[in-house]
């Protein structure tokens, strides 16, 4: 199994380390040709405007859209924003996940927070969520499943088939359950082909 991590900007190394701990080799993707032969892709946290601009300059937008049609993709925080259909800002996004997202929905850095989460499909007790200038999913399309809401009801994890997105950062914790969860999506998809 080969899983890529979009390495334009952000905490891609943290995702690579998490994948390494569960025995999956990660490929850094900075140019379109590196998408070839990948079974899945993680879009890490970072500044979504920076990532969008670099993806445009290096002609990654269309190849990524094409990739996401059939191959599992997981976006965390800025990655979730980059996958969304509507982010309310004039910035390049992939638009592959049918949802409306509000960037920095919880406020500025002083409002960044941690909270324990109950995530649908994740066994073994609460998952510790780290939210940094995090986005919020305001609205989802009919086929998108809501996997997690924080205590005040706001949506922070969604899935639509092979596309998965979280507003928080599992890669900043030692808990590998969501990386396992994504790898399971990748394995399922590979088996079905």
């Amino acid at each position: 199994m080969k899983v890529g991590v979009l390495a334009l900007q952000g905490d891609f190394q943290e995702h690579e380390q998490a994948l390494g701990k569960i025995g999956v080799a990660a490929v850094e993707v900075r140019l379109p040709e590196r998408l070839e032969g990948l079974d899945g892709l993680i879009i890490p946290g970072g500044e979504s405007t920076t990532v969008g601009k670099l993806a445009t300059t290096f002609k990654l937008i269309d190849p990524l859209k094409e990739f996401a049609k059939t191959t599992p993709v997981w976006g965390t925080c800025g990655g979730l924003v980059f996958m969304a259909k509507d982010v309310g800002f004039d910035q390049p996004v992939l638009g592959v996940l049918d949802m409306v997202v509000e960037r920095n929905a919880f406020g500025r850095q002083v409002d960044s927070f941690e909270e324990d989460l109950d995530i649908k499909g994740i066994e073994g007790g609460p998952f510790h969520g780290v939210f940094i200038r995090a986005p919020e999913v305001k609205q989802v399309g009919p086929t998108v499943e809501i996997l997690c809401r924080i205590q005040d009801g706001r949506i922070v994890a969604v899935r639509n088939g092979h596309l998965f997105a979280t507003a928080f950062h599992p890669e900043l914790t030692d808990d590998l359950r969501l990386h396992h969860y994504f790898i399971e999506i990748v394995a399922e998809k590979s088996r079905s082909i």
Partner: protein, 293 residues
């Protein structure tokens, strides 16, 4: 829900990795930086080259200006306070800036003590010239480190010196036996627990950017190849002939720092770089990097 934790303070810097943080003095600059792909901006009244030229006491910028810059972009906004000036830091926290740079570029307010950064909800970045200085700042609560370089010169030589010093000392640390770490901590004046943690990790426990003298895409890529996590560019962009183009090129160079083909491409036709001052021409009294204890 817990706010202002160590994890979210350090974590924010992790989101900036592989990116470029640009000094801006107006909302227009900030928008140019955001359009070029900056991962954050540093809001200032004057870039370091002008602080140098202007002389006198350099202080925290007008909060009104910082607020305007915060309103003009969607990316994180940092701002500088003087070394040891905890009230400037309280003001910046109240403004809601995303990061505070306790910076040697401004005139120090305290010649012995840096700010106790732990009680703040807003994270701090601090400068260093070597591992001891970096670990002292982390010991005081800094959630991000930048090697100092020599700000406002456009000369990368000090940025290289400081990056190599930090990385070289960490390498040395990783080869030491456990029983040598206390003596080493004493030698470099660093907290023992952080020395041990750094030896185990083989890197600083927080994100480490380069700064001070980066003026070209090649400079930025060099700092990345040396092992820095990202780059601050101060005067190098808005003191150059074509800021928008140069800013974009530096962002691209940081992403593709080890791809010489792309570096060659993005370095073409950027116009005049900032004029710059050779650091060797600077008298000791004009050096900013020596500020900090």
């Amino acid at each position: 829900m817990q706010k202002g934790t160590d994890t979210v303070k350090r974590g924010h810097a992790q989101m900036l990795k592989g990116g470029v943080i640009m000094d801006v003095v107006t909302p227009d600059h900030a928008r140019i930086a955001e359009d070029a792909g900056a991962c954050a901006v540093m809001a200032l009244e004057r870039v370091p080259a002008d602080i140098r030229a202007h002389g006198g006491v350099a202080r925290m910028s007008d909060p009104g200006l910082i607020a305007q810059i915060m309103e003009s972009v969607s990316i994180p906004v940092m701002a500088k306070c003087r070394i040891g000036h905890f009230v400037e830091a309280q003001i910046l926290e109240a403004l809601g800036v995303d990061y505070i740079d306790e910076s040697e570029v401004l005139t120090p307010a305290d010649e012995q003590n840096h700010i106790d950064k732990w009680p703040f909800k807003v994270p701090f970045v601090c400068g260093c010239r070597n591992l001891g200085e970096a670990l002292r700042r982390i010991g005081e609560g800094a959630a991000m480190i930048r090697t100092k370089g020599e700000a406002g010169t456009g000369d990368v030589v000090e940025a290289v010196r400081h990056a190599r010093a930090v990385i070289g000392e960490i390498k040395r640390l990783t080869t030491m036996r456990a029983d040598e770490l206390m003596a080493y901590a004493k030698e470099i004046g660093a907290p023992y627990e952080l020395v041990r943690e750094t030896a185990e990790l083989g890197r600083l426990p927080v994100v480490n950017f380069a700064a001070g003298g980066v003026a070209t895409p090649a400079d930025a890529a060099m700092m990345m190849q040396l092992g820095m996590d990202g780059v601050f560019v101060g005067s190098g962009i808005f003191k150059s002939g074509n800021p928008a183009k140069r800013a974009k090129a530096i962002v691209e160079a940081v992403t593709h720092y080890d791809n010489a083909q792309i570096l060659a491409e993005v370095s073409k036709g950027l116009g005049e770089p900032m004029v710059g001052i050779g650091v060797t021409e600077l008298p000791e009294s004009a050096r900013l990097a020596v500020r900090g204890w």
